[in-house]
Amino acid sequence: MPRWGMVIDLDKCFACQSCTAACRMENNTPIAGPDQAILGRAILWNEVLPFLEGEYPLVHATMIPRPCMHCDNPPCTAVCPVRATYKNEEGIVVVDYQRCIGCRMCTVACPYAIRYFNWFPPEWPQALKQHLNPDPEVAPRPKGVVEKCTFCIQRLHRAREKAAAEGRTFQATDYMPACVQTCTGHARYFGDLDDPNSLVSKLSHSPRAFRLLEELGTEPKVYYLKQG
């Protein structure tokens, strides 16, 4: 089974947030609206986080686009009391919205704070509902459950079905999440980390490669290449 991973080259990422918008459109994450956004409840699975250091004029800012790390040793799935979130056989950490009891221990356990909670049932003005992605895997989540980036697992299923329909074996290159496809700086690479000659695994061993909070031992599968 492939072990899906991603590499983001910060030298080519221009923090344009197209990944954030693409992720929302592909996965039907709800609009928070002005009153909920102020409370910090906007659900954006793939946010671009600004990290600022330094005093004027020697200021250095790093803009980190942050999907779920899909750790190989995820602290979030360990603490789930009902196995509502687990790492599937392809290394993607998914959430089972029918079983999640909303205790939110996984949201607190994740050091990257990438898990979001549905405080209210998802709401769109009536007209906007027409643009929702019809794939069953991304039906809007009910209130009271946790949701997170799933590396667009519905695209993986679609790619597998398409390969099967066309009678060829599924290749790792048939599938990429929406954020990788729309990255304006072509900064995101995606593929099977276990396949030695895949671009992703080569880049993950590049001298510029680093991972967020590597010291915590969660083994994140999203590598970043240093800017500059």
Partner: protein, 444 residues
């Protein structure tokens, strides 16, 4: 036969038909409780958005209440079980009052968890799909077992007194007498029964002590097992345990003082009792400050970046006022009051205990919220803000009101002071029986 106890009439006096003041009190407490319940139903229908919780502050006042109520639950076990093992006779009059706090705060601890859950109707998933790797399952087991054990422990030690009420309170309304009849399980007060009861209670006391230590460490491991800065420390177990014992004992003091005042039980709950508890309270407060210093010194000295963000947020940042007022409330004032003012002065003792408990609630708040506000990866510009909303305060008030309601109704129907334990001597064997019954181990 029943044990002779000179204070029997005094102890049984509170058990009478509920007066108008009772009804008013129950009405008020019941009202607050129902209000909180309706707020919870509204929250369930609309969604957890009505609370102030957000990202990254996912746990707030509800979880603080949960830890606080489980902390209160330590009072009963500590006073009755540990002191029973230690053979401290002076504890006898206050055991039932203390165990009652345990019994009536535990359900509201569990209720706080239910109020915090996103999908409470799926709580049975924990049984069907429970995974033992999750600290929540440890919690569920430990708190569940502790709740079960404390019910049984409480009921067993109540058995002889129910039988006494069955026989003495002939003028009680017949439904109440029928209740005594059923609950007494046919207890005749046979010395052999008393002997076996003492043996069982001693056995359970040991089990309960071990259990209470696990319960609160397991509750703290719900935080300790995550990688959040400020939570992921080995000391969080003992820290919470000592905090719980301190807040439990303080709660017992408050309860006893109120009972003493309302039911005029001065002879039974004499000053000496409070003086010995005062010694305990001082040791626990010092123990608690030791834990605080140990934790914050280690974190501060270690000076790791993300830990320092949380620490400075507590010391000088947005939570400085709460933190320092909490330190003052739990340690600063109470220790001074207890040492200098509280000797033979129940009034001061109660103020110290009230301060301790308010401080302990804030202490749980201060342990939970600042760590969540600045998680490891969220940039400073993304930090969370958390302002509890009316729903959360309403449900908190309701759970406290519920606890007081249970406590007051209990004192109206059952003797709050254990008559058989504080009796001069238990019923002897009848003369024709050959065997000689030793007196119950009531060594002082």
């Amino acid at each position: 036969m029943h044990p002779e106890n000179k204070h029997e009439k005094l102890i049984l006096k509170p058990i009478h038909r509920p007066t108008t003041s009772d009804r008013i009190l129950w009405f008020i407490l019941g009202g607050i409780f129902l209000l909180g319940l309706s707020a919870w139903v509204r929250q369930y229908v609309i969604g957890l958005g009505v609370t102030g919780l957000n990202r990254p502050v996912y746990w707030g006042v509800y979880i603080t209440n949960f830890v606080f109520f489980i902390g209160l639950a330590h009072s009963g076990t500590f006073i009755s079980a540990i002191l029973r093992i230690a053979g401290q006779g002076w504890r006898k009059p206050l055991t039932r009052a203390a165990e009652a706090i345990t019994l009536f705060s535990l359900p509201f601890g569990v209720a706080s968890i239910l109020a915090d859950m996103g999908r409470p109707e799926r709580v049975f998933n924990i049984i069907f799909f429970g995974r033992y790797q999750s600290p929540i399952l440890w919690d569920f087991t430990a708190v569940g077992l502790y709740f079960l054990s404390s019910i049984v422990f409480f009921y067993l030690s109540l058995l002889p007194d129910i039988a006494l009420c069955r026989d003495r309170l002939t003028n009680a309304p017949d439904w109440q007498r029928r209740m005594y009849e059923i609950l007494a399980l046919g207890w005749q007060g046979h010395p052999e029964q008393f002997h076996r009861l003492e043996k069982v209670l001693d056995g359970m006391a040991i089990f309960m002590t071990m259990l209470v230590v696990t319960v609160h460490t397991v509750v703290s491991w719900m935080f300790g097992m995550t990688l959040q800065p400020g939570w992921h420390t080995a000391l969080i177990g003992p820290f919470f345990l000592l905090g719980a014992i301190l807040s439990g004992t303080a709660a017992v003091v408050i309860a006893l003082a109120i009972l003493r005042k309302v039911y005029k039980l001065e002879e039974v709950l004499h000053i000496g009792l409070f003086n010995s508890i005062r010694k305990l309270l001082i040791t626990f407060t010092l123990g608690w400050i030791y834990m605080m210093i140990a934790e914050h010194l280690t974190i501060g000295y270690g000076n790791m970046k993300e830990e320092m963000v949380v620490l400075l947020d507590k010391f000088t940042g947005t939570y400085a006022t709460i933190f320092w007022s909490m330190a003052l409330l739990v340690f600063g004032l109470p220790v001074l009051i207890l040492i200098f003012k509280a000797k033979n002065n129940i009034g001061w003792m109660v103020t110290a205990s009230i301060l301790i408990n308010i401080g302990m609630w804030l202490e749980r708040y201060i342990v939970i919220i600042p760590s969540e506000v600045s998680p490891r990866l969220l940039p400073v510009m993304g930090q969370g803000i958390y302002l509890p909303t009316a729903t959360e305060w309403l449900i908190t008030a309701a759970w406290f009101a519920g606890m007081f309601l249970l406590y007051t109704t209990f004192t109206r129907f059952f003797p709050i002071i254990p008559i058989w334990e504080t009796a001069e001597h238990l019923p002897e064997i009848e003369p024709e029986g050959a065997r000689v019954a030793q007196t119950a181990p009531t060594g002082d």
